[in-house]
């Protein structure tokens, strides 16, 4: 044991607490100016990076042969979005299945099996980055650099463009002419993702992350064994992996690996990045639409949900496993199983909740080893899917929740529904309901199928019983929400998991984007009506409470029976014994 006295520990927990408070405060402090900047970028206003990127932007448009100034309808926008995104499907499939003979493969990594390649491809192009392989043994440098690395930039740009066009559609006017998809797409990459990740990569480099194309380092240990230390161009990878909420690790251990996350400082930066873009885009909405109070309402509801997930998780981790305490073992460090000593209990618990409430999916510890309640909170974050949520998709998901709340709330005050000066009608409600039930549908049906074919799934479970159930539902919820983290422990590289998760990621990713853009596009086409004293106010605490309650009752409670069979049953079994 590292610490001998309880006093030292108490002091240490305080320091760790301080650490996470600093992370959170720094994240919010960075998000607000970043949100303002993002709003400017999408509105086409002047920014300090224009001089560098304007020529590049023009060059790209010429290369792509598009007129980015030409407006698009919401349908055209979606077609462009899906085309740009899905073009990567055949390319990625090809590379992953042929990486064995392609160049830049010093460690002679084998080609992926078709089902693994299918899963990985879908998972990459959707920004989910759920990995059923380990990077150091499953991906060549070529695949990492020419597939994963560009997709780290391109896939968050896709969702950011969808979000930007929703912003654009919600501006108070009646039009079907929305800004061009390519305009937002290229700007998201050049003005937002590239500069921030570039600066961060340099910081990471100075903190000792490797940046090399040489193969694994080999040396002989004192015992005479040969040891391989995998490495690669990690610093550049890591910054965009975190910023873009991609979360796909270079190594299987992800950010628990010392090359991906060497010290507490990089841990803090990476943790800030978990939430930075999701929160900044919320503020960007406020700046873009000039409705700052609305942004604060959204941020407030998200934060409330986040804290409600965080507190039980941290509490459970700090207390540690009561079964171990009963055995008379000093458990005062909390539950350290599966955690890195250099991060500690608190920061790891905090990370796990940020990773699952934002849809990053990068891990710095083993979620499978968390206490059942913490695991349940991680799952709930993924299940709710909008407490910060992914880049762009977080705001889009919340937008859907707002439409639902606006409809019910307006009825409650005797009005028909209206949001940002637009009447919400039957068609919007129809889409809203489909999207609302999609995520429970995919996660629950997936898990139900897995339970129904025990011959295919039971051997892959690391634990029997309730915990095994948690492993399954976590996997599907993570796939459906594009979080991409794994509870792990699950032997997920089998055709069953690869194929089912692949399809669930696909539906779970694109349908909500299509739905949200469609609703916004339809609203944009409607007549703009100002707000009056009788219309519902969406930018105050009362409405926030309504949205929060709806998210809780509709989304979270749909998972309640499943959670009861998994983490809740496990938790009470441990406590009662």
């Amino acid at each position: 044991m590292y610490y001998s006295s309880a006093f030292k520990l108490g002091k240490d927990v305080c320091m760790e607490m301080l650490g996470i408070i600093v992370i959170f405060v720094a994240m919010v402090a960075l998000s607000i100016p970043l949100g303002k900047y993002i709003a400017k970028v999408y509105a086409g206003e002047v920014t300090f990076l224009d001089r560098i990127f304007h020529p590049v932007e023009k060059l790209i448009y010429r290369f792509l042969g598009v007129d980015a100034m030409c407006p698009m309808t919401w349908k055209q926008h979606l077609v462009a979005l899906l085309t740009v995104n899905l073009l990567w499907f055949p390319l990625t499939m090809f590379v992953l299945m042929n990486q064995n003979w392609l160049p830049l493969n010093p460690d002679h990594i084998a080609a992926m099996s078709p089902d693994l390649a299918f899963h990985s491809t879908i998972s990459f192009i959707t920004n989910c980055f759920q990995q059923h392989y380990s990077g150091e043994t499953g991906m060549s440098y070529f695949s990492q650099i020419f597939i994963m690395f560009p997709l780290f930039f391109l896939t968050p740009a896709v969702t950011m463009s969808a979000m930007a066009v929703v912003f654009n559609a919600l501006k108070g006017r009646a039009t079907d002419k929305l800004r061009n998809f390519y305009y937002y797409y290229v700007r998201s990459i050049l003005w937002i993702l590239l500069p921030i990740s570039f600066v961060t990569a340099i910081i990471f480099l100075f903190n000792g992350m490797p940046m090399t194309l040489q193969g694994a380092h080999t040396f002989t240990t004192l015992q005479g064994d040969t040891m391989y230390v995998a490495r690669g161009p990690i610093a550049a990878f890591e910054s965009i992996k975190m910023l873009g909420l991609d979360g796909g690790g270079f190594f299987g251990a992800n950010s628990a690996h010392p090359f991906e996350n060497p010290n507490f400082f990089t841990n803090m930066i990476e943790n800030i990045f978990h939430m930075l873009l999701p929160v900044a885009t919320v503020f960007a909405l406020g700046f873009y639409l000039n409705r700052k109070k609305l942004a604060w309402m959204i941020f407030g509801v998200m934060t409330l949900g986040f804290i409600l997930l965080l507190i039980p998780a941290m509490n459970a981790e700090l207390k540690g496993n009561p079964a171990i305490t009963q055995m008379g073992i000093n458990n005062s460090m909390g539950n350290m199983e599966g955690k890195e000593i250099r991060f500690g209990t608190t920061a790891s618990a905090f990370w796990s909740i940020t990773a699952t409430s934002s849809m990053n999916g990068a891990v710095n510890c083993m979620h499978d080893s968390f206490m059942p309640i913490s695991g349940g909170m991680q799952m709930l974050g993924i299940m709710v899917n909008t407490l910060y949520g992914g880049v762009g998709t977080g705001v889009l998901g919340f937008f859907i929740a707002i439409i639902l709340a606006v409809f019910i709330g307006s009825l409650m005050i005797g009005r028909s529904a209206q949001f940002l000066g637009k009447k919400v009608g039957m068609r919007e409600i129809k889409i809203t309901m489909i999207i609302t039930l999609l995520h429970p549908f995919l996660s629950l049906v997936g898990t139900a199928l897995a339970c129904s074919f025990p011959t295919l799934t039971t051997p892959t479970l690391n634990n029997p019983g309730f915990h095994g159930f948690s492993e399954m539902i976590y996997e599907y919820a993570s796939a459906s929400s594009a979080d991409g983290s794994g509870f792990e422990g699950l032997g997920d590289n089998t055709p069953w998991w690869n194929i089912t998760c692949g399809f669930i990621i696909l539906f779970g990713r694109y349908l909500p984007i299509i739905g949200a853009v469609a609703i916004a596009g339809m609203l944009a086409g409607k007549q703009y009506i100002g707000d009056s004293a009788g219309t519902i106010k969406t930018d105050n605490a009362t409405f926030g409470l309504l949205v929060f309650s709806l998210i809780f009752v509709v989304t979270a409670l749909a998972f309640f029976p499943a959670l009861a069979v998994g983490p809740i049953a496990e938790h009470f079994s441990i406590v009662t014994h």
Partner: protein, 680 residues
């Protein structure tokens, strides 16, 4: 609006009829329109099959009695929901029947244009034989057989059968008061009427069909809400179906009855069961306010209105101006002014004239006038008065009087000019009084703003409704009255086209506009408005153009209509919230009950400490069933609307129906469980 208000919700004959209908409505064809209750019906059917299966010897599903109980409770849930709808319909029907009584076949004196012997013979036919375009006559004591328009004559008519108002009204040909309604009674004189509607198509007939629910179509908002509820139902179908594999993974056999119970509890049956009752009773409430809405959509739109166009006269001010003050000219005795003013008004039958006498406080009979000649008001002279002996007294408009005085070579006193200006700028009308072309002083006539109207407009403002006063007055007077009454805007010197233009302008910015009108020239604007309320006394063109008809001819009715519309939407919204919020407690009742036998640890989430798994499930579905009839009064009466601003109202309703919706079932289920435990 005075009738029927005090009737109880549960009159025995209505209840009896509703109970009968509840069973008839079990027909799946009927239930299919309502996806929530339709799934409950399927669940009930499945339970019936399970009961039969157990009788056939199946052992895995628990006892027969238990399953039968669940089947019966589910059946009861369906019946309760049907009962709510049937009761709303029965109430509508009763209301309609009382209207229909007035439409029973009455003899009509039809004019046969080309008779057997003469032209224009009069034949007595039953009213049902009258078709559009026919003409009939009505004399003193006749019941008017059907809706029509007077083309000849004038009559006083007792409309109490329709409006409940006992004072007779005057109807005459031409002008805006030419319309008569079937079922009303001619008290004096004789009129010739042209039939304006086909038999069975008059407003009343349409209305009767609407409240009876026969021709009720779902409104857009109701459809949207149905979609929402169907969506929730689907979520819970998924939750319950996927639970089966989860349970088999956890090696927990769950009987079919438990799945069905969980499902029925989770889907929004409360609002689903009450939804159509709410819609019907919205129409019914409008009818109780003596407003005939031509569609449910019109009532719903009323709740959403942004702008109300209100006629000044009758709505904001009491019909007529009143004298409020006398201002004597310099050197004139005020009593003399008053005496002359009264004399000039002796023969003045106008309400203004009468009010001058009233204010003067002198009995005109007591004044000595020899051989008087009364001069009537004409548009040319713009004055009226009296001549007797050598005295000539006139009262009239300022500029006309000024001309007259100056022509006679007299001075118009500066002090009086001041008075005139002051009166005008205060929204009043000055009448200058002359005696032999010498100015005596001014009478101030004021519009009397109805008491309480300021508060009503304040109330509307808090609802987010903008009020616009429409008046023929000059802008100065209009502005003054507008400010005093508290309306937001006004249209002065308004012509019918101005109303139309104003409505178009507001609609162009996406606002919903309502207006009330009675004249033929109001018809285009009534048609243009989102809610056009025609007065029943108005022309048939106006009634045809509007989408509501006010039987009371009460211009302030618009305000009431807005509240009825809001109530309709609010009742839907709050009960939806209540229904969804109920799920929290139901989860906590049923989920532990499902797993407790095989996962004893889950006893810890049995936070209500319910007696046993089967008592928990029973209590949850019993609660789910009985909450429906308990909320019927609320659904039929509507949630009270409080104009306290959108956010405060939302906060209040969230607290009452949201938080209440979470807490009530915890208490209710626990209490029921205690009772059930006693029986087990």
């Amino acid at each position: 609006m005075k009738r029927n208000r005090k009737e109880g919700l549960f009159k025995s004959d209505l209840v009896f009829e509703a109970i009968k209908q509840s069973f008839i409505k079990l027909n799946p064809k009927n239930q299919f329109r309502n996806p929530v209750m339709f799934t409950v019906e399927i669940g009930t059917f499945v339970m019936m099959v399970v009961c039969a299966w157990i009788l056939a010897g199946e052992k895995s599903q628990g006892s027969f009695i238990y399953n039968l109980t669940i089947f019966l409770i589910l059946l009861l849930t369906l019946l309760f929901a049907n009962f709510a709808e049937a009761l709303a319909e029965a109430r509508g029907k009763a209301q309609a029947a009382s209207l229909r009584k007035t439409r029973e076949d009455t003899p009509a004196k039809r004019i046969q244009i080309l008779g057997e012997i003469f032209l224009n013979e009069i034949h007595i036919v039953p009213s049902s034989q009258l078709v559009k375009g026919d003409m009939f006559i009505c004399e003193t004591g006749d019941i008017i057989p059907t809706d029509g328009e007077i083309i000849e004559g004038i009559a006083t008519i007792d409309e109490s059968a329709i409006t409940g108002e006992s004072a007779p009204v005057v109807r005459e040909s031409g002008g805006d008061k030419s319309s008569v309604t079937g079922g009303t009674k001619v008290l004096s004189d004789k009129i010739k009427v042209r039939v304006t509607t086909e038999p069975g198509e008059s407003f009343l007939d349409k209305m009767i069909a609407l409240v009876e629910g026969a021709s009720r179509q779902k409104t857009p908002n109701e459809i949207a809400l149905t979609i929402l509820l169907a969506g929730f139902t689907l979520v819970f179908i998924i939750v319950c179906i996927t639970l089966q594999p989860f349970a088999s993974y956890a090696k927990t056999p769950i009987p079919i009855s438990a799945y069905i119970s969980l499902f029925v509890c989770l889907i929004p049956t409360t609002i689903g069961g009450l939804l159509s009752a709410i819609g019907i009773s919205g129409m019914d409430r409008a009818l109780r306010a003596n407003v005939i809405a031509k569609s449910g959509k019109a009532v719903e739109t009323a709740g959403d209105l942004d702008v109300l166009l209100l006629d000044k006269t009758g709505t904001i001010t009491i019909g007529n101006r009143k004298a409020t003050n006398f201002y004597a000219a310099k050197g004139v005795d005020k009593d003399h002014l008053i005496k002359c003013a009264v004399m000039s008004s002796m023969a003045d039958e106008t309400p203004e004239g009468k009010s001058i006498i009233e204010l003067g406080g002198i009995n005109p009979q007591s004044l000595q006038v020899d051989n008087p000649t009364f001069i009537k008001f004409t548009a040319e002279t713009r004055s009226s008065g009296i001549d007797f002996g050598n005295t000539q007294i006139r009262k009239g408009a300022y500029d006309a009087m000024k001309n007259k005085v100056e022509k006679a070579g007299n001075m118009f006193p500066a002090g009086t000019i001041e008075d005139v200006k002051k009166i005008s700028s205060n929204g009043g009308t000055p009448l200058v009084v002359l005696e032999n072309n010498v100015v005596l002083g001014v009478i101030e006539l004021q519009d009397i703003i109805k008491t309480g109207i300021f508060e009503r407009f304040e109330r509307l403002r808090k609802m987010g409704v903008k009020t616009v006063m429409v008046t023929g007055d000059n802008p100065l007077t209009a502005k003054y009255i507008a400010e005093k009454a508290g309306v937001d805007d006004y249209i002065a010197e308004a012509k019918p086209e101005d109303k139309m233009a104003y409505i178009r302008k507001e609609q162009a910015t996406g606002k919903l506009v309502a207006m009330m009108g009675d004249g033929t020239n109001d018809a285009p604007a009534l048609a243009q408005a989102d809610v056009g309320v025609a007065m029943n006394s108005g022309t048939s063109a106006a009634k045809e153009a509007g989408n509501m008809v006010d039987l009371d001819n009460d211009p302030t009715k618009l305000i009431e209509i807005v509240e009825i519309g809001k109530q309709l939407l609010m009742t839907r919204g709050t009960l939806t919230t209540f229904s969804i919020a109920n799920d929290v407690a139901k989860y906590f009742a049923i989920v532990p009950a499902l797993f407790i036998t095989s996962i004893p640890a889950l006893q810890r989430i049995n936070i209500m400490n319910l007696h046993s798994p089967s008592s928990a499930i029973l209590s949850a579905i019993i609660f789910n069933a009985i909450i429906i009839p308990m909320l019927i009064p609320l659904a039929l009466k509507g949630v009270a609307y409080k104009p306290i601003g959108a956010s405060a109202l939302l906060r209040r309703n969230l607290l009452v129906y949201g938080l209440g919706g979470i807490l009530v079932p915890f208490i209710g289920i626990k209490l029921i469980d205690m009772l059930v435990a006693l029986c087990m």
